[in-house]
Symmetry: C2
Subunit: 389 residues, 2 copies
């Protein structure tokens, strides 16, 4: 005797682009929050990244006074400020703070948890929202280039546990994402640039024209041209979003990680640097390594590799980092190679690494030759030395 | 500028009925585990309810030797025995044990977490599986009447937190559910009977014919007739499953809780009794209270209420419990009435209580009159006294 259960769940959400979301005349959020039929007063709580408070001390007051202008939205408690960056995900302390607020403010499944901050804070708050009362509606307001063009527009959340990146988490589409470009202006230069690495990545595997556009605007992007950065963020968000919606596997049931070009090394480099490297900076190195690997393996022409490396450098990335190399500063760091198995382990199944033969599309390989990885790293070193001459 | 994201996720799983699942000749599990294409060796871990070990000390060995017969399935670690009953959900201790095993045994998203036990253990292990690596495939083997006919076949998991029932959890359809009837034989009489309360509930709101069948077999069911109980479990699982698949709201985004007839009081009574009352026992009282309430409110004829109360009593339930009443033993316990608000709060939005006018279908009410609840409780008290005469 067998009962077969079968159903589908439809998910939809909007990614909205705006400027100055908490200014009194900007009603983007209010319009979003009024979409629940039959609920006259919409209840919200807001969680803010400490990093943001560092550049705008008044942000909590700004948010408070923003909502006080609208009687149809009730903020259940003062904005909660949480630690920013990877630290917010490294243990359960910040997560528990958010859960405590959800409990204390009696946030229910018709209320909204709004998170304002970088990718790590969005991951952590998104996880809290996903597991409290089996899922509370969640609005993400990413404030960094990286989170606006990559993680913030996606469907994943999580925290690190047992020292492992994103060991705990869920796939939980947000209720909405609002990208406010003005937040980018206050980023320090490293955070401003870091997000462009994910743009290079998605362009390399999906959109040759966009890659050429990045090459042509690399110096402007590096030099804080906001209007250029806005174009980059929008195109990335579109590509990322099309990928999730059109992939047939938004919750990653298979072994493939099509968006993770350059990421097997990146995750490990972040960890080996004690998170001194930002995710985007590590991704830039990871892309450079895999591009040089593709040349070693005979997949990619040297000339295209040079063009990619050149673009990454013009965007302001340093592609040689001590964590890539062993104690002699030349051979490959054996710890880095462990990143391959850790990358496989996270999804399980067969090792699957995206690789490129040309710009704008990817294919998968299922093993990587350590000698070629070492040669790839050394070719980056030579490029740097040649550059220094 | 707005990007609209939209996609659907298809979920499907089988609820399989069998006997003696870990006997060498039963290949139900092995057939299930071979369904992953391209993965020659399927990896599993098994978590077992301590309560089960209490009645079958050899169960871990039985499970171990079962899997050792099949080279295509690899058990990554010895079965982990966890505390049974509500205690397994009351803090994060047992949850963390399961997560530690997932980490230690390198369980990935292509491996399976198999849980064998009562509803609480399934809830807790299901939650661990849902959040580790953003969701590991999970097979539930419910071992009590309650879990086989109700929670075990559904899509929810969770643990209690901040002293609140299921404060943390997710909606996560299992990979499969296997109901093994032989586990029911070893249940103590309270656990054997407890699950029949959910059968009465689902029959009252969905299936008059099934309700009549229960009335006609109440004494056999109460007296441990296994073949009767098998029929009851199958019909309940079908009704529960049809409800989830056909409801358009399997993840309960709305305010309605159509399967929760009698449950606003039940949840609170469990808590007020310090979990001395089993969930099913509390549900029986909750149903009796709401049925008497429906008479008070003029929704239901006295004669039908009497028939329902009579069936619950024949099934072996005591419908009068001290937690229902205040210190005088007659007036309603004011703490119980708080259960209404807690019930509303869990989903949020408007209070929505399922109610019946006739047997086999339900409607919703959005408020309950405390005086009528008190009168309902007192009518149960009078019935008991009349019965004692």
């Amino acid at each position: 005797m067998v009962i077969k259960q079968k159903f589908s769940i439809d998910f939809q959400y909007e990614i909205i682009f705006t400027r100055n979301i908490f200014s009194p005349e900007n009603d983007t959020l209010i319009r979003l929050l009024q979409k629940t039929p039959g609920i006259p007063t919409t209840k919200v709580i807001v969680v803010v990244d400490q990093g943001l408070v560092g550049v705008d001390r008044g942000i909590s007051t700004t948010i408070e006074s923003y909502f006080s202008n609208y009687s149809q939205v009730q903020m259940l408690d003062l904005p909660l400020v949480v630690t920013g960056g990877e630290e917010s995900k490294n243990d359960t302390r910040e997560l528990v703070k958010v859960l405590e607020l959800i409990d204390r403010a009696k946030v229910d499944r018709h209320a909204y948890v709004i998170a304002v901050g970088g990718g790590s804070v969005l991951d952590m708050v998104g996880f809290a929202a996903a597991i409290a009362h089996r899922g509370i509606k969640h609005i993400r307001i990413p404030t960094t280039t990286l989170s606006q063009n990559d993680s913030g527009v996606g469907v994943k959340n999580g925290i690190n546990y047992f020292g492992k990146k994103n060991f705990l988490g869920t796939f939980a589409p947000p209720y909405a994402v609002v990208n406010d470009f003005l937040f980018l202006e206050s980023l320090d230069i490293r955070d401003w640039r870091a997000g462009t690495a994910e743009a290079v990545k998605v362009a390399l595997i999906k959109d040759k024209e966009f890659f050429n556009w990045i090459c042509n605007h690399a110096e402007q992007l590096s030099q804080r041209d906001l209007s250029c950065m806005e174009k980059l963020v929008i195109r990335c968000a579109e590509l990322h979003s099309e990928h999730i919606g059109g992939s047939n596997d938004p919750f990653e049931m298979g072994s493939s990680r099509p968006l993770d070009f350059g990421h097997w090394a990146a995750h490990k480099l972040e960890q080996l640097s004690g998170f001194e490297l930002r995710h985007g900076e590590a991704v830039a190195i990871g892309i450079a390594l895999d591009v040089c690997y593709a040349v070693q393996a005979g997949y990619l022409k040297q000339e295209l590799a040079d063009q990619i490396i050149d673009a990454l450098q013009k965007l302001g990335f340093r592609l040689v980092h001590p964590t890539v190399f062993g104690q002699d500063g030349v051979s490959i760091n054996p710890e880095l190679l462990k990143g391959l198995e850790e990358f496989r382990e996270h999804l399980g199944g067969q090792l699957t690494i995206p690789m490129i033969k040309e710009i704008g599309s990817k294919f998968d390989v299922h093993e990587m030759n350590p000698a070629w990885i070492e040669a790839a790293a050394q070719s980056l070193l030579q490029k740097k030395e040649a550059h220094a001459d």
